[in-house]
Symmetry: C2
Subunit: 274 residues, 2 copies
């Protein structure tokens, strides 16, 4: 994974790395601009996509039609940067360590706040992320070897079309995690409880059936390792809506930087449907 | 499958083939001695095993230790042939179409009631059966091709040891049902809701990993068909406790005859844990 552009403070230096509000306060003060993996354990970290209102209705429809890759957990009000359902005083303009800014679908810059970029016609979308179900998998005793190596799950583009909505369309992106058959069954059960963070896998077994070559990871991201006796399981991935945005080419779009997520006050366990 | 020894009445001639109590009344009167598949849809059909009390404690422990192959849904009181939790006036001596009698683990005869064989030291065990989850799979729109051909799921002996209890021990027996990867994930979700009728599969994918050759079905029973693009899913099977009884060699044991199950008043849906 690429290193953050700057790092005023390391994750270990955060005054309370278990408290999501304290973490957001440090981020807001410009004191922390790193990755968020491992911070505020037990709490939901989320993907963020900020769009002009002209694109917001179509993007919402895209999420509604593709809930597995685009599990919407909050949508901000028009022009309002606060998201009170996700955290007290949470301000989307300052509370993410690093932001990526896109114009017409093209990356143009990375910034640590968007106070000067915020507009009255912006709408914020917050989408669930697999960090939440990975925590549930680990708590169930299921091994995720890539985490032990500080890596992430392998990312792949499939040949499966998502359901388009207006200008938004994309192939389904997936993450792959390998398990023994017994653990695969348990992993399906555990992740089925979390539809708001991608839910159950969309595929198990033969990668070619969904157009995937395990050796060809998207931008080389993550681990594609599958050991003898294991089955690859494929989950819908939050990169899908980012590609849909790239395809829609809105004049401006702002997202979190990869692996520097929005840390919310929601508990992962609160997302379980049962 | 072998034909029933006798058939005074066909399933179609039953006065009310949807009513479990009416079906048991016809069976009790000696008017129906056939297979029970398709009778009383929506209601639990169950495996039955009747043992002398000297073996009952160990068999109960065997079920407790191996809940996937031996999902106990009722145990009768010592010497009492009635099972009020499963049906009004249900009499285990008369309400099964055909019984198999074993001595020292060896089959000795098939009979249509056990009134003359019942003893004061008998204990009845009633175990869930995959008929219940097959109904749930079909209701979920998942294809079970063997049912369309009036066949049953392929039955296999694995190399997996169940947990022994006293004189009871056996290899785990399984049934196999093939699904596309997407349907396999759904089948795992659907059957996970029904732990009292074998629950989730115990294995998915490579049959050799559990010592199974798909071409070598146990006693040739059922369909071993897996089409290209499908994964075999393996569920623990109610034949396991029958083999454990054969290994324990009690002086006498009485079971239902294959495919002629106990029809209960319980609804399949009532077994769902959520």
């Amino acid at each position: 994974m690429p290193q953050p552009v700057m790092s005023v403070m390391s994750a270990a230096e955060l005054s309370n790395r278990r408290d999501p509000a304290a973490i957001r306060t440090a981020i807001r003060a410009g004191k922390y601009t790193g990755y968020t993996a491992g911070l505020a354990p037990g709490h939901v970290q989320a993907n963020v996509c900020i769009l002009p209102s002209d694109y917001a209705g179509e993007f919402l429809l895209y999420c509604q039609r593709n809930p597995q890759p685009c599990p919407l957990i909050a949508q901000g009000d028009l022009g309002n940067p606060f998201l009170p359902t996700l955290g007290k005083d949470l301000d989307i303009r300052t509370d993410i360590p690093r932001y990526h800014v896109f114009e017409a679908g093209r990356f143009v810059q990375e910034v640590t706040d968007i106070k000067n970029l915020w507009r009255d016609d912006f709408v914020t979308f917050v989408l669930g992320c697999s960090f939440s179900f990975e925590e549930a998998l680990r708590e169930a005793g299921l091994p995720l070897r890539f985490l032990d190596r500080n890596d992430v799950a392998g990312v792949y583009e499939t040949t499966i079309d998502t359901k388009p909505a207006g200008r938004f369309h994309a192939k389904l992106m997936v993450t792959m995690r390998p398990f023994t058959p017994k653990d695969a069954i348990r992993a399906i059960q555990v992740t089925s409880r979390f539809p708001n963070v991608h839910g159950a896998p969309i595929h198990i077994g033969d990668p070619a059936a969904i157009g995937v070559d395990l050796d060809k990871r998207y931008q080389g991201v993550g681990s594609g390792e599958v050991l003898a006796g294991e089955l690859p399981l494929f989950w819908a991935c939050g990169l899908t809506p980012q590609l849909a945005v790239a395809n829609a080419k809105p004049p401006v779009c702002i997202t979190h930087a990869p692996s520097s997520m929005l840390v919310t006050d929601l508990r992962n366990a609160s997302l379980a449907v049962l």
